[in-house]
């Protein structure tokens, strides 16, 4: 039972899309040669994840999930006579939502924010096939977040995590040009190894325990029946 803030922080650091799950590696490797383009793509990913995850969350919970159509007619609900389970369509629906949202966002940004379009425009089409977007949607469905706020926090957090990762590797790649990397390792090889080392560094976030009010409440409830004698015994 994580709070919304927990989900957000975890998505950025310990469950980083790149370092923990390798999602969105293709564009991560291809577009990380300079910091400027990396920032553009990273911002576009935050933007698209922040929009598509809540969209897909609604789709998952009100259309696709087993019994999710209960709001139409109780008969289709979990306890109804004709429970409908459309979850087998989730892959195709998620990718359709992502592809069309990317298209829509591109058109809207072009129309209403030409300056932003200049910065993000060329990256938006790339994003439809970025694994981190579909991966985010699938993780969201898999982890069964209970509110749309949690899902949104997860989406934006994952985006920020991805942004951090690509900007960091781009900065390193800009500098590594001046180093004596063994010839066969240049370019792709060293980028893989660097990402691995960065992943190890990011793993140090794993041990952090996200203490929060909600968890405390549960532990308190558990420990309530303890008598003072018991507490001393435990010491």
């Amino acid at each position: 039972m994580d709070t919304t803030l927990d989900i957000f922080v975890k998505a950025i650091f310990s469950e980083n899309m790149i370092f923990a799950y390798f999602l969105g590696m293709c564009s991560y490797l291809a577009v990380s040669k300079t910091v400027k383009t990396a920032v553009g793509l990273g911002a576009a990913v935050i933007f698209v994840l922040g929009i598509t995850i809540p969209m897909n969350y609604l789709l998952q919970n009100y259309v696709l999930k087993e019994g999710a159509l209960g709001w139409l007619n109780p008969e289709y609900g979990l306890d109804g006579a004709h429970t409908i389970d459309l979850s087998f369509l989730s892959f195709i629906m998620f990718i359709a939502v992502i592809a069309s949202m990317v298209q829509l966002v591109e058109m809207l940004v072009e129309k209403f924010a030409p300056a932003l379009y200049g910065a993000l425009g060329i990256f938006l089409p790339l994003i439809a096939v970025n694994c981190s977007i579909l991966g985010g949607a699938l993780f969201m469905a898999d982890r069964q977040y209970s509110t749309i706020a949690d899902a949104t926090a997860f989406g934006i957090g994952s985006g920020i995590g991805w942004f951090l990762a690509i900007v960091a590797i781009a900065a390193i790649r800009e500098k590594i040009r001046y180093s004596q990397v063994p010839a066969p390792l240049r370019g792709l090889g060293i980028t893989f190894i660097l990402t691995g080392l960065m992943g190890i560094a990011f793993m140090s976030f794993m041990g952090i325990e996200y203490k929060n009010g909600d968890k405390k409440a549960e532990t308190e409830q558990v420990e309530a029946p303890k008598t003072s004698q018991n507490i001393e015994l435990n010491k």
């Binding site: 293709c26 892959f91 792709l188």
Partner: protein
């Protein structure tokens, strides 16, 4: 990154002509989808902790790529160019759903382990890449050959990484103990002599480093592939 569209024009060439064989053998090393074209990394690395998962992932990709290349190639003269990408996405997504359903029904334990990564085959760039670069412009048979070549190229890297990680990470291959028994208190084989598994290997970052080393070896052997930064 993207290749130029190769056109097979000869009207009646034998099924295993030199050209067709090249379609299969090229992606195995000099044009490997993972180490050279850098495609399909996303879903590749996360499931290489154990050989078994890597194997099923490769089989799934093989199925999706062969069937997809075949259907796109058959439909290539019918697909309206404006909705080309969406049509390709629909084909991949449906094939992946079929794979997922079959895995869930017939090998449920594997399906549980692969979890969301089966779904991520959809955004595996190898697949969309081959549809766009090859199947849209070629006849069905060469398209199948191309699909086979690329999925084998994908599979052997995957299996090699998984082999290294499972062997050194948990001392097993396909669950079979190579270095002896590692249970606390009843060690045998190498473990009795003080050998310890490298837990690092099991963690995600090592997959990247192993692939990095494979690239290093491959490019040392074939100098033509070396990049200048």
């Amino acid at each position: 990154m993207s290749e130029t569209v190769e056109k097979t024009k000869a009207p009646s060439e034998p099924l295993f002509s030199k050209k067709n064989r090249k379609l299969v053998t090229d992606p195995l090393s000099d044009n490997n989808p993972i180490t050279i074209q850098v495609l399909g990394i996303c879903s590749a690395l996360a499931i290489t902790v154990q050989v078994e998962q890597a194997f099923w992932m490769s089989v799934s990709v093989l199925f999706v790529l062969v069937m997809g290349n075949l259907s796109i190639s058959l439909l290539r003269n019918l697909i309206p160019s404006r909705i080309r990408i969406i049509v390709q996405l629909v084909v991949v997504a449906s094939l992946v759903i079929i794979v997922d359903e079959l895995l869930q029904a017939f090998v449920p334990d594997i399906s549980e382990k692969l979890s969301v990564f089966v779904g991520l085959i959809i955004t595996n760039c190898i697949i969309m890449g081959r549809f766009e670069a090859f199947a849209m412009g070629n006849k069905p048979w060469p398209s199948i050959m191309d699909a086979l070549g690329n999925s084998f190229g994908y599979a052997w890297i995957l299996l090699l990484v998984a082999l290294v990680r499972e062997l050194f990470g948990s001392g097993k291959i396909l669950g079979f103990e190579i270095f002896g028994n590692n249970l606390p208190g009843e060690e045998s084989g190498l473990y009795a002599m003080g050998y310890v598994n490298n837990n690092m290997m099991i963690l995600p970052p090592m997959a990247l480093i192993v692939v990095g080393i494979i690239i290093w070896v491959q490019r040392s052997r074939n100098k033509a592939l070396i990049e200048d930064h």
